[in-house]
């Protein structure tokens, strides 16, 4: 017997759990705008799609297949949108540039050797931040097109803007900190979300 396809509320909640890998209920509620997130999480746990441990929800091994099946159903129109394909292809190029830029934030080249960036060179850091800003701006058309299909994609530009504003205000940890809603975290979640929405596999 095939399990019924997740409805959109359940999909949105499970999607956030799967994107964040380990997440508290309050964060899921804030991210999805779901009113009664506790009962959705309880339902997903009952279906064996999440487990709750250490005060956080984790996706189980069954979460990805369930999300994939539901995405095929909910995003059939997105996948058929011919206008989206060139924007998605462009994303792959921008993504490669993003990963390189993120590495150059963490490490600098000294005589051909990569060493940890101690962030003592404000000019160097400023250039990396400017490049990141430009790369985020390049996602604009793709994010707009996706938000036209599903308004939840509108959260990404808001989250990017909040992180970039914080960086401008001197909170440089918002570039790459894995425990904050940093540019790297938002980008990574968007990439995973995009692949799932389109039913594509990640390129190693």
């Amino acid at each position: 017997m095939t399990a019924p396809v997740l409805d959109k509320t359940d999909y949105d909640v499970l999607n956030v759990v799967a994107l964040k890998k380990m997440v508290a209920a309050e964060v899921v509620a804030a991210d999805t705008g779901t009113a009664d997130v506790e009962s959705v999480l309880a339902r997903l746990e009952e279906r064996g799609l999440i487990v709750v441990a250490a005060g956080a929800a984790f996706p189980t091994d069954d979460a990805e297949p369930a999300l994939a099946a539901a995405a095929a159903h909910h995003y059939a129109a997105v996948r058929e949108d011919a206008g989206l394909a060139p924007l998605v292809d462009r994303f792959e190029t921008v993504n490669a540039q993003f990963l390189t830029t993120m590495s150059s934030w963490q490490q600098i080249d000294v005589g051909g050797r990569r060493v940890t960036n101690d962030h003592s060179d404000a000019e160097y850091d400023g250039k990396v931040i400017a490049r990141l800003d430009k790369l985020v701006q390049r996602l604009g058309p793709l994010l707009d097109a996706l938000a036209g299909h599903d308004p939840r994609f509108g959260a990404y530009p808001r989250r990017f803007a909040a992180a970039l504003d914080g960086i401008d205000a001197g909170r440089h940890e918002l570039v790459s900190a894995p425990t904050l809603d940093s540019v790297h975290n938002v980008w990574f979640e968007f990439h995973e979300d995009l692949l799932r929405t389109l039913g594509r596999a990640r390129v190693e």
Binding site: K21, M22, V51, A53, A54, F58, P59, T60, D61, A63, L99, T100, M102, S103, Q106, Q107, R113, R114, V115, T116, S176, A177, P178, T179, H184, F188, E192, R202, E204
Partner: protein
């Protein structure tokens, strides 16, 4: 000198040289069970790829060391391991085997051979070289 079991890309130079029993993680449930067991810090974690995104909770919960069998230091996992300062050897291969990972051309047997040889071994990571990360026998 201690036996070098495997080598790969060193994600970042560090004097940290974590020691533990290698645990192969093949699915999200393995990560959850390991975190629940409270024994996360006894293990060096072995995963298949640099895009193995289910490893993130283990890093944030204090994993001591990571070995991957594919992927580049510029990948998501590489970025995370530098952020958490968790020593990480990527695209590791067995020093006593000729099998090497090639993007898009490597079959399951390559990964299975490495997992079989390393899972359960007591090792230490040597990440002092600026290019090569080493998995050294510590039993």
């Amino acid at each position: 000198m201690a036996e070098v079991l495997a080598e790969g890309y060193n994600v970042f130079d560090t004097a940290k040289s974590p020691s533990g029993t290698i645990k192969y993680l093949s699915a999200p449930a393995d990560v959850i069970n390991l975190i629940k067991s409270g024994k996360l810090q006894e293990h060096i974690l072995l995963v298949r790829g640099g895009t193995t995104t289910f490893l993130a909770p283990a890093l944030s919960m204090g994993a001591i060391g990571v070995i991957t069998m594919s992927g580049a230091p510029e990948s998501h996992l590489g970025i995370l391991s530098r952020e958490f300062q968790t020593p990480c050897v990527m695209t590791a291969y067995l020093t006593d085997s000729d099998s090497r990972y090639v993007v898009g051309q490597t079959g399951d047997e390559h990964f299975e051979e490495i997992a079989k040889a390393l899972d359960g071994r007591k090792v230490r990571l040597d990440c002092t070289d600026h290019e090569v990360g080493r998995v050294v026998a510590d039993d």
